[in-house]
Structures are given as C-alpha cells and as structure tokens.
Symmetry: C2
Amino acid sequence: METNSLKRYELKAEMFKALSHPMRILMLDKLKERPWCVCELATEVGIDKSVASKHLSQLKTAGLIDDEKRGTLVEYRLVAPCVLELAACAEGSVLQNRRKRLETGG
Amino acid sequence: METNSLKRYELKAEMFKALSHPMRILMLDKLKERPWCVCELATEVGIDKSVASKHLSQLKTAGLIDDEKRGTLVEYRLVAPCVLELAACAEGSVLQNRRKRLETGG
DNA sequence: TGCAAAGTTTCCAATATTAGAAACAAGATG
DNA sequence: CATCTTGTTTCTAATATTGGAAACTTTGCA
C-alpha cells in the first residue's frame, strides 16, 4: 500500500476529527440555528471563551464553519449544514447498532 | 447549559472519532469492496496486524463494522455503507471549502 | 500431543489533545 | 489617551491516542 493512498484520506480524517468532540457537535448544533459570536456561544454552552475560541478554530480549519468580523465581535456561522444531517443519518443507523452492542455487552 | 445536553452528543462524537484516522477510513474503504480478515487487510494497507486489530476494534465499537468468526479467521464487514457516502458528500462540500482556505492561507 | 496460523491484549515510548488561566492584540467608546 | 469588551494565543498539567514488539489465546491440523 502506497503512502499516497493513505494521504488521500487525511483531509477527510481531519474533518471527522473536528467532529469528534461532543462540545464541538453541540456548538455546530447551536450554529445551525443562527450565527453566534464567541463569548455568547461560550456562555450558552458553559465553557471558557478561550476554549470556545479554540474549538471554533478547529471547526473553521476543517471547513465546517466560517467567520466574519463585526467590529469587536467575530460572528461564526455554519457553512455545511449537510454535515449535521449526515450526523443525524448516522444516528439512525450506526448508533442504533452501537447501542445494541453496548446493551448486550458484545 | 446542562451536562445532559453535552451527553447527548457523546455517542455521535465517538463515531466521528472512529472516523478521524486516515488509516481507519482507508480500511473502511477496503471493507466497502468486500469482507476482509485481519491479517489480509493488515498486509493490504501495510501495517502490523496488532495495529490493524486495534483499528478494527475501534470501528466495531463505533458500530461501523461487524465481525464473524470463521475458524481461526475473523471476518470483518461493513455495517453502515451510508457513512462512507456521507464522507464522500462531505468531500464535495466541506473539503472544497477547506482546500480553498489552505490555498489562500486564510 | 505438538506445532503453526490468526487475532487479541499488554506493554512501552512518543505524540497529540484538552481545559483553563494568564498574557496579549484589536476595536469601540468616553 | 485610558479603558473596556471581545477574541486569540501562550503556557501548563492532565489525559488520550498511536505504532510496534512481545506475550498470550484460540483454532486447525498433522
């Protein structure tokens, strides 16, 4: 297997890594409703603004959200809502499977 | 924000974490073609069988793949192909966005 | 029984991620 | 200019992830 083959999956993997933290999914869910600035969103989800800023930065790097400066505020907005619907789809099929496994202890 | 709200996203986050490693996406891509046993797949993607086993274990825990013992072999098979199509869709929208950002240095 | 093959688990060292505090930068406003 | 607000970056310690070697289990077979 060539190194190149693995390389083909790196960007995709980074996108999934951005989605791999419950707090970041929660933030995306909030951003689905409307744009938020950092402080406001940090308060809403109950974390420090520096932590929120870093999470948002990761989501932006992954291409999931975008930002726009508005005076002293930075407004973040969802770029790819389809990703969340995909997550919902996954919840339907994959997570059912996973829950079943957890229950049966398999 | 209640702890419960964040808890709602943990299973979803774990699924995405399972997808957050390029090697695991590559392995899923192989499993999309047909079922593989551990040694065979490990050789195909060029890693140690113990590493392959651990990656497959993570994918199974996430509910993305399933396994079946066949004598001394363990055959792994894809459970939720939709997830990979999801990834492909994401490649179309999100990754384009991300590549643009990488090029412009934003 | 003895041995080989397939997988899993354990151990280790290297690396990455995370939260939060503190320092810092950039606008807004009096 | 002084200061406040917003947001990012830096620093630290705790925790998690990773690959590979080695030990181990299980199954098949002579």
